[in-house]
């Protein structure tokens, strides 16, 4: 019987090597797999390229991973917010690189990787400075830019329910980038608030089919980034 469950977040991330490209689910605090990120901090892999919509907040989760010097490059659409201090400081100090990608293009590049589409055309960025260096092409009189797929070695994902086959559901807007990141990473590692039995998720309600998932860890009472920040916490 197939069983993708893994006993701990530590074991789940233990083979992420230095220099890996890692997608991390979540949009701001919502859907951020804090326990997996903290396990990656403990694990200590460095030189990472991290793909996430943002760059974390406060001194926990993704911001702490960056602050710990493990991230060589961020690929994101919105690398600052009122509570993000770590990334801006490290970026200005030249300690981390940035690839800025519009949010819809970021989502579509990730989805394309999962779908075996090496490139596609989008109107987004046409006529702006973010068009620079991109190939353009006209279809039906409108100009588009070509965008390549965006693949990853690993994805770290937070979900609501997971079964042993890796079928997943999410909670509300915590879904965001996670389903497409599951598709785009060679190894997808998921922390689930509930581990349920095979067959417990209605096949009509599965959001991420298990084929896109390699490892599942139960994290029944996950911390939330906003709660940690409100409590003044930092990691490690």
């Amino acid at each position: 019987m197939i069983d993708k469950t893994c006993p701990s977040v530590e074991q789940a991330v233990a083979d992420i090597p230095d220099g890996a490209t890692v997608m991390i689910g979540g949009f701001g605090a919502s859907g951020s797999p804090i326990e997996l990120i903290h396990a990656l901090i403990d694990h200590g892999a460095t030189g990472l390229t991290v793909i996430n919509n943002n760059t974390g907040n406060g001194e926990v989760g993704l911001a702490a991973l960056i602050g710990n010097g493990q991230v060589r490059k961020m690929v994101c659409s919105f690398p600052r917010s009122s509570q993000s201090k770590v990334f801006p400081e490290m970026y200005r100090a030249g300690k981390v690189e940035l690839e800025l990608v519009p949010q819809g293009t970021l989502a579509e590049r990730i989805r394309a990787a999962g779908a075996g589409i090496p490139a596609f055309y989008t109107p987004t960025t046409v006529g702006t400075v973010l068009e620079h260096g991109k190939e353009t092409r006209t279809f039906d009189g409108r100009t588009y830019v070509m965008e390549p797929w965006l693949r990853a070695d690993f994805a770290l994902i937070k979900c609501e329910q997971a079964d042993p086959l890796g079928n997943l559901t999410y909670n509300k807007t915590a879904r965001n980038f996670s389903p497409i990141m599951c598709m785009a990473a060679a190894t997808t590692i998921v922390q689930a608030r509930q581990l349920v039995q095979r067959g417990a998720i209605d096949p009509e309600h599965v959001v991420t089919p298990g084929i896109f998932v390699e490892r599942v860890v139960g994290v029944p009472d996950p911390v939330h980034e906003d709660t940690l920040i409100a409590a003044g916490r930092s990691y490690p």
């Binding site: 949009f27 701001g28 605090a29 919502s30 859907g31 919509n53 659409s77 919105f78 690398p79 600052r80 917010s81 990334f87 801006p88 970026y91 200005r92 940035l98 800025l100 519009p102 949010q103 819809g104 293009t105 970021l106 989502a107 579509e108 990730i110 989805r111 989008t122 109107p123 987004t124 960025t125 046409v126 006529g127 702006t128 400075v129 973010l130 999410y170 909670n171 509300k172 807007t173 915590a174 879904r175 965001n176 980038f177 996670s178 389903p179 497409i180 959001v207 939330h224 906003d226 709660t227």
Partner: protein
């Protein structure tokens, strides 16, 4: 001090131009106020980029769900008939032309419809674009809701944007504290002044020629 519309009145005036049944995306800031001024008898469905169609008003603090946010990372609710989906589906709605109206704030908007609302282009600033460039390319109508001038009194409605563009020729109408202004093939045209505000005042605070209101038909 000038008279003119308050932020709330600007939002209400903008809401009047949104048709019943429209799918609407509201940018962060003044645009968010539009949701409070839906004209009687109409219903708008709000989309937020992070995967929700049918966004409702903010919850009471006690009813907050930490997993239910909008694109501005504020806690929101979901109305009956809402739907959740992932980011690629969400931006398919945007880029695929399925949304009717997007209301955005801005730094500058030019008389040819160019919009600059994502970056000052200053050295050392951290560039952050989010979904703005997708919205202006994909949504059928882009409305701008903004103060007519900066806090320093500089025009935001300009001949040509000096800040980095979000998109070229994308804006159709502008709502400010002083006026409603259309982008036309001939440039800015006054549609409606705020009560007590003269054409001359609006024109003097606009950084490009402003065509007067079109004469009523007939």
């Amino acid at each position: 001090m000038t008279t003119g519309w308050t932020r709330e009145q600007m939002a209400a005036r903008c809401a009047m131009d949104i048709p019943d049944g429209a799918y609407v995306n509201l940018g962060i800031g003044i645009p968010e106020l539009v949701a409070q001024y839906v004209p009687g008898g109409r219903e708008f469905i709000y989309h937020t980029e992070n995967g929700l169609l049918g966004m409702g008003p903010p919850p009471d603090e006690a009813d907050r769900d930490l997993d239910l946010m909008n694109a501005g990372k504020k806690y929101v609710t979901a109305v009956p008939g809402a739907a959740y989906f992932h980011h690629a589906d969400s931006f398919s709605m945007i880029r695929g032309g399925h949304l009717d109206v997007c209301v955005l704030g801005t730094m500058q908007v030019a008389c040819n419809g160019d919009l600059a609302n994502w970056s000052t282009g200053e050295d050392g600033a951290i560039p952050a674009v989010g979904g703005a460039m997708d919205l202006v390319q994909g949504v059928k109508q882009i409305f701008v809701l903004t103060q007519h001038t900066t806090k320093a009194g500089e025009p935001k409605l300009v001949e040509r944007c000096t800040y980095p563009l979000t998109g070229r020729g994308v804006v159709s109408r502008i709502y400010t504290d002083l006026a409603v202004v259309d982008i036309t093939p001939d440039g800015f045209r006054l549609v409606e002044p705020a009560p007590g505000v003269s054409y001359d005042e609006i024109e003097s605070k606009t950084g490009a020629p402003l065509l007067p209101q079109a004469a009523p038909a007939g």
